[in-house]
Symmetry: C2
Subunit: 218 residues, 2 copies
């Protein structure tokens, strides 16, 4: 022994976690996202999550106290990413640019993070037992803020009269649909699993729907 009892800063940084701890937690969360988003909370088992993470079940439970803690960690970690596209809407822009780019960001989010979208959808469908608070406070406040921006454009005559909160619902539902209901989309279009070519068609559709005029007056 060379007589150095000082804890090594590299392995135990002020944050509190060693490198191996962070790596394993990341691996577990990735595996859990696979399984939870595929099967829902009750359909997922610790066995499958552990297997997906190439880890024994007791070892997995060394990092997370129980199944629910993994689920909550995924959900709370997801929320900031989830709100990012909406946060970017700026009051000093114009409706076409701001709403158009918001839709593109949201659709891109569905394309890039379908597992996260399905995890969120499962949670809402189950009655939002873990994120009810978030929905009633943080999300509601953000929606009020952005809806006020849209309402300003309506008052200026730059948009049709409508409830801007429901416009946001329409954007959420149409974009998230391509992640959450991707199985149905592919089956109806006759596409192979993993084929995501429909996202380009979706982008065109949503641009026509939200930014153009869909039906001619005749």
């Amino acid at each position: 022994m060379t007589g150095n009892a000082k804890p090594r800063a590299v392995e135990k940084p002020a944050g509190g976690k060693t490198r191996i701890q962070m790596e394993n937690e990341t691996r577990i969360l990735g595996a859990a996202l696979d399984i939870f988003s595929e099967s829902g909370f009750h359909g997922a088992t610790l066995d499958r999550i552990a297997s997906q993470a190439s880890m024994s079940k007791p070892n997995l439970l060394y990092y997370f106290r129980n199944k629910e803690e993994i689920h909550v960690a995924l959900l709370t970690g997801l929320l900031d990413v989830w709100l990012a596209p909406l946060r970017e809407i700026r009051p000093d822009g114009n409706p076409v640019d701001e709403i158009g780019s918001y839709i593109r960001r949201k659709l891109e989010s569905s394309r890039s993070f379908p597992r996260e979208s399905r995890l969120f959808a499962n949670e809402i469908l189950a009655g939002a037992p873990h994120i009810g608070d978030f929905l009633q406070t943080e999300l509601r406040q953000l929606v009020e803020e952005k809806a006020a921006i849209l309402q300003g454009w309506i008052d200026d005559g730059r948009m049709a009269t409508c409830d801007p909160r429901h416009l946001l619902f329409a954007i959420w539902s149409t974009t998230q649909h391509y992640a959450d209901f991707s199985v149905q989309v592919r089956h109806v279009l006759g596409l192979d699993p993993g084929d995501k070519s429909y996202y380009d068609e979706a982008a065109n559709m949503l641009e026509t729907l939200f930014l153009g005029q869909l039906i001619s007056v005749n």
Copy 2:
């Protein structure tokens, strides 16, 4: 004994089921719809379904072989109701009337059958293990048929150029959203549980979105 051995037609009709059988199956299916739509297939337990049906668990399993059989019975019974609004679209109508009334029927279906909508959503999210065939055959064929009608209107210059199948996806997602994500809708709008007043606002929004022009060109 009065010596009449003939089976009683009232209790054993040609269909094959007695009155009490039909009543109990109906009660079980209603209870199962409550529980499955609230908790998903794996989150639901036979105990809760039996309790909701005011019936013992073994008695419940006298009418259905197992849990999955109840689930399948609900899903298959749902599919015709599910497609009814789409079937009604007529080629000899005009875009505004046909699409407008389709949206109203679909939204009314969400308002009246939110449990069925959530059951369907849970099934799709889980990868459609039981209705994958239906999606690839019956639903796909119906979509092709109705998309052809919409394409005709596009070719006639009565609608903007777009992929009509994706227009149907947009109608499905926006209308079903109010049933499937009702918890989020209520939390964001600050409504009490059970308050469905948002459906009228939704109807206005969807009419503006699909039938009017949302954003002015300026």
